[in-house]
Structure formats: structure tokens, C-alpha cells
Amino acid sequence: MKKSFFILLSCIFGHFSMAQKAWDTRDSVARGISIVVASGISHYINTLQLNQSKASIKQNFSCSSMRIMWEPEHRLSLGIEAGHYKVYEVQLVENNNINTASLSITPILFCVQMRIFKRFYVSAATGVSIHQADINLLGNQSNSQSWAFSNLKFSAGYVYPVTKQFGLGLQAQFLSENKTEDMIASVQAVARYQFKRKFKRVRERR
């Protein structure tokens, strides 16, 4: 069983694998550092336990993120990602006053990214988050900040190389905050800039 499974896996891997020479030169992975900036829409997967007759919730917000990746000459790349997501806003109507409570998070994550096909990648990230709760109660505003650990983010995306250094694409993300057990799904437009690696010419010594 094991033997046949490995044979099957090798065949699948072999089928999709291709030598780097066959790629468009714009798709080369032999780069140094890349910066990816993304912006889009997030949706909160609602797990709040609210009294629905009195409270309403907004779940969709704009979001943005940025990551800096070190891309060595193989499929795997490492980096750091930060972003800002408004998770939800709860509105509670009381005597013509609208009281609101919202949660925003700023994750700072260690990111591992892997190219699956030549322009398609998946990534997983883990790290800390800063949680900010903003409250507007009877016209008085207040906020509370706290740190959250062991958060997870998974994403998959496609980046089309417009030039050798610049690419545009789309990515889908899933972010899970362990402390508050909140989950966000988001879709973002992606702009990537790769800093071209400068190879030093080595002169042959006579």
C-alpha cells in the first residue's frame, strides 16, 4: 500500500514538476527580497452570541496587509507579514442611541510561502496580534488593547508577472484568532515587487 502510494505521489509530482528553464524568464524564482502589498474585502465568520432582537452586526470591511519575503532559489520563501483587519462592529440600539462595539486586529506573523505552480502560491503564517476593541456608548468613546498569541493565517494566491520585477494578482486568505476564537475570510488584490538580485562578477585570476 505504502509503496503504491509513493509511486502514485511521485507520478503526480513528476507530472506537474517542470524544469526552471522552461519557464518564462519573468517567473524566475531566483530573486532576493520581495514586497507584497494587498488590499481587499474581509468577511467575519460570525460566532458572536448576541441577542439578535436588540443587536445587529456588520461583518464586511475593507482590509489591507503587507509582507516582506526572502525568496531564495527554491520554491520555499520566508518572511514577515503585517496587516489591519476590522473584524466586526456590533450595534446596540437603546432609546434612540446607537451604541457600538467593534474589534480590529493587527496581526504580525511569521510567514512561510511556497510556489505550487509557476505563478500560484500558498502560504501559512503564525504569530501575535494586537486586538483593539472600540466602544461608543451613549456618546462616550473608549478603547481597549490587548495582545493575542498563537494566531494562524492561510492564504493562496496567483501573481501574474507584468515585468521581471513587478507583478499583480489576487489572493484569498483565512485568518484565525485563537484567543477570541474569531475567524475572517478575505479576498485581496495583490501587488508584488521583487528586488532583483545583483550577482557580482567574479574575475578569473590569472
Binding site: 500500500m1 503504491s4 458572536l48 466602544i135 456608548l137 490587548s146
Partner: protein
């Protein structure tokens, strides 16, 4: 593909040349089919993980429609110790029946901390007892219906006569979950409570105002509802956790952070001290839907609607919280005095930081305090109560010494059934703090 088939073939059957193909096909099916019960068992166990019955979901209905309440004289007469004749599987060999100030009859047993919360009514010379039973140590629960017929001694209980018939017998049924109670339960009266028990000088102190949310009793810890429920669990006093909100309101809450262990998932996150009480009261509900109460509301509830006699304030916010708590403590004591109630409210001193702050408070020796530290520190601040951790043992010489100085000794937080039995019978504490007051009640009321 051939390799795969051959591998499976050798796994199950010995090589058989001619019938190989047929056997191969069959053996693959058998190989999978034999695991179906295993997978089904896993799926069923996963799907039934949260499928427990909560006490509030039990369908408790009076067995008769026009029953009348029992007199206090009748109630007191059939309190006591009973032997279980039928129904030992759930209720063990002995049960304790005890009425509380809410008019409910609590039944305490020795098996898994089993208890029942019931009501009693009378009709046509018969007494009917109905309610639910539950294990203290797990979430198994069900309905219980009992009856005391004239032939089993109900006439004597309902009469003004003080004598208790020797043949007093309570018969009925109990069920599991929401099933109709059909399993027989029969109890025979053994004896009333002993003189030692009736002296009423032992405190059964319930942790977190009655019990923990995680024990799924159907009411959330540190809530007004749990305070109201504490007596049904046999408590004579409660320990409550006091924290300060951002606007300096003392509230009942155990943890530092707002979390889903104690609250329903709400839009507020982070330390509870970061939020004002108006924010907390509007946006946060405890796990079973209750509001987080202020200390003042909790003490008023205890004074006005319970018969609890001892309150232990566990100070979770240090220093300035105490200054907010002292006036509320004093107001509640005055309120109790006006209602002719003798309630003791102790400010807990759990560590050195709180102790040092307490010492800096002017006239601190006039404040009712409970010290969890050493005997010397307890004496130094003239605390009325010394509260050692239960793991230190029964501490008989120290307890005797403190009691000789007119101080009380409460040990905390004792949940182990074997140690509860040992400490109740061999220790000399004035009270025990526990998450399972029903177990302490059982062993306490059994004392001779």
C-alpha cells in the same frame, strides 16, 4: 494496480491460485466493511460529545394539579437520613433530605456527589415530591417523582403531632435525561439529624457563589442566579470573586480577561478592568445568559432573598479595590441588621500584596477579614477567620489554637470526595470551601 491487489490478498487470505480474482475483490470489501463499526463509533462519539442534558432542560412537572404547600412543621419532620432500598445504582445506599429557606427539598447522596432539587406538595393525605436529580461530578441528570402515602406514614408527617413514625417510607421513580421517570426509587427513614448537626455551627461554603460554570449546573458562576441557587446545593455561605471595572465599580468576575469560559462570545475583548460597568452590563452576558452583577447587587440579593450566613469576598483586584469594597461591605452588614439577620461578610486576604495594603488602611482591625496566610499574620491583623489551604492537612493543633482565640477556621478549596469525608469527620474546621457543596452537605448531615 496489480501490486495493490496482491498486497491486500496476502493480508487477508492465503494464496489460492484459481479463485484469486474473486477472492481479491471480496477480501477488499471485507477489509473495509470490518472497519465500518469502528468509524461509525468514532463518528457517533464525536457527534454526541456535547449532547448532555442540563438540569434546566429536564421536564419537571408537578404530578398533581391542585397540590397545597407543606407546613414548616411537616417539612422538618421528614428531614433526616434515609436508607435507599431501590435505586442504589444512581443514589447509593444512603440519602440525606434537607429543606432550605427557598422551600425546596434538597436530597444529597454519596455516589458521585448525587443530589436532587425538589419541591413538596400535599393532596388527600399524600405528600408528593418532584424535581430533578443530578450527579455533582458529571452532567448526568434526570427527573424524579416521589410519593409519601398514608400507608407509609404521611398522616403522621401532616399531623401536628411531633412523633415520626418508624415505618416512614418514600416511594417513587426516577428517569435519565428527559425520559419519563420509570425506574423505582424507595427510601426508608433511618434517623433525624444529630444534635451536632442541629447546632448549625458548620459552614458549607460554595466556591464562586455556588459552583463553577464548567460544572454545567445550568447557572453561571458569580451571578445573582447562582447565589439564588446556592442553598439548593446545600450551601450555607458563598465565596465570590471581586474585581474592579475601569470606572471603579466592584463586580463579580473570576478571571482577569473576558473569555468564553465564563461569558458568551461578546464584542468586548481583553482585561475586564479596561471596561466600564455600563459597557460590561450592555455588551456582556455570562455563559448561561446572566448579567455580570455588581458587588452591591450580589450582597443585597444575599441579604434580601437567601438564608446564607457567610460571605467570603475573594479580592481579585488588589489595593484600591479594597477601598471601594469596605463601604459596600459595611452597608450590607447594616442592611442585614435591619432585617434581623446575622450575616458575616469577610474581606479575603489571599497574598502578601493585599495584606500589606490592608495593614495600611486606617482602622483595619475593625474590618471583618479572612486571612489565607499564616497563623501569625492572621493574628497580627486580628482577622476573624484563618483560611488555610486544604493540602496542609487537618491542622488540628493550629485549628484548636485559633478557635481558642475566638477565630474561625475555614479550609479551601476541597473538592476530592475522599478528603471531604476525612476532613468532615476527622477535622475540626468551622467550615469548608468547595466547588461541590452537595458532597460536603452529605457528609456533614450524616455526622452523629
Amino acid at each position: 494496480m496489480k501490486l495493490v491487489k496482491k498486497y491486500k490478498f496476502f493480508n487477508i487470505f492465503p494464496e489460492n491460485g484459481n479463485a484469486g480474482c474473486v477472492l481479491n475483490a471480496t477480501c477488499v470489501k471485507i477489509h473495509l466493511i470490518k472497519y465500518i463499526p469502528f468509524f461509525l463509533t468514532i463518528l457517533l462519539s464525536i457527534s454526541s460529545c456535547n449532547n448532555y442534558d442540563l438540569p434546566e432542560s429536564i421536564n419537571v412537572k408537578p404530578p398533581i394539579t391542585d397540590g397545597k404547600p407543606l407546613s414548616n412543621n411537616s417539612k422538618t419532620k421528614f428531614e433526616g437520613i434515609y436508607k435507599v432500598i431501590k435505586g442504589n445504582d444512581v443514589f447509593g445506599d444512603t440519602l440525606v433530605l434537607k429543606w432550605n429557606s427557598k422551600g425546596n427539598l434538597s436530597i444529597f447522596g454519596g455516589a458521585n456527589g448525587v443530589y436532587a432539587v425538589t419541591k413538596g406538595i400535599k393532596k388527600d393525605s399524600s405528600i408528593y415530591i418532584y424535581g430533578y436529580w443530578r450527579f455533582g461530578l458529571n452532567s448526568e441528570t434526570g427527573a424524579v417523582n416521589l410519593q409519601l402515602k398514608p400507608s407509609d406514614g404521611s398522616n403522621a408527617i401532616l399531623s401536628q403531632n411531633q412523633t415520626i413514625p418508624s415505618n416512614l417510607m418514600i416511594k417513587g421513580t426516577y428517569g435519565s435525561g428527559n425520559e419519563t421517570p420509570e425506574t423505582p426509587l424507595e427510601l426508608v427513614y433511618v434517623r433525624p439529624f444529630s444534635e451536632k448537626v442541629l447546632k448549625n455551627d458548620f459552614e458549607i461554603l460554595a466556591h464562586r457563589s455556588g459552583g463553577r460554570t464548567s460544572d454545567l449546573v445550568g447557572v453561571s458562576e458569580n451571578s445573582l442566579e447562582m447565589i439564588g441557587f446556592a442553598e439548593d446545593l446545600g450551601s450555607t455561605g458563598v465565596e465570590i470573586d471581586v474585581r474592579l471595572t475601569r470606572d471603579n465599580v466592584p463586580i463579580l468576575y473570576h478571571d482577569e480577561d473576558i473569555n468564553i469560559r465564563l461569558t458568551r462570545k461578546s464584542p468586548l475583548n481583553g482585561p475586564i478592568a479596561n471596561f466600564s460597568y455600563p459597557e460590561i452590563s450592555r455588551f456582556i452576558r455570562l455563559v448561561n445568559g446572566e448579567r455580570i452583577p455588581t458587588l452591591e447587587e450580589a450582597l443585597n440579593k444575599i441579604v434580601d432573598s437567601t438564608n446564607l450566613t457567610t460571605i467570603w469576598l475573594d479580592m481579585k483586584s488588589v489595593n484600591n479595590a479594597m477601598l471601594k469594597v469596605f463601604p459596600i461591605q459595611q452597608q450590607a452588614v447594616e442592611r442585614a441588621k435591619r432585617k434581623n439577620r446575622n450575616i458575616k461578610i469577610y474581606v479575603g486576604i489571599p497574598d502578601e500584596d493585599v495584606l500589606n495594603f490592608f495593614k495600611s488602611v486606617p482602622n483595619h482591625k475593625n474590618i471583618n477579614a479572612l486571612c489565607e496566610l499564616t497563623v501569625e499574620e492572621t493574628v497580627g491583623i486580628e482577622a476573624e477567620v484563618w483560611a488555610p489551604r486544604w493540602t496542609l492537612g487537618t491542622l488540628l493543633p493550629e485549628v484548636k489554637k485559633m478557635q481558642s482565640q475566638n477565630r474561625k477556621v475555614y479550609c479551601w478549596t476541597l473538592d476530592n470526595e475522599a478528603f471531604i469525608k476525612k476532613y468532615v469527620n476527622e477535622g475540626n474546621f468551622n467550615g469548608i470551601l468547595t466547588n461541590y457543596p452537595t458532597i460536603i452537605a452529605y457528609y456533614h448531615y450524616l455526622r452523629k
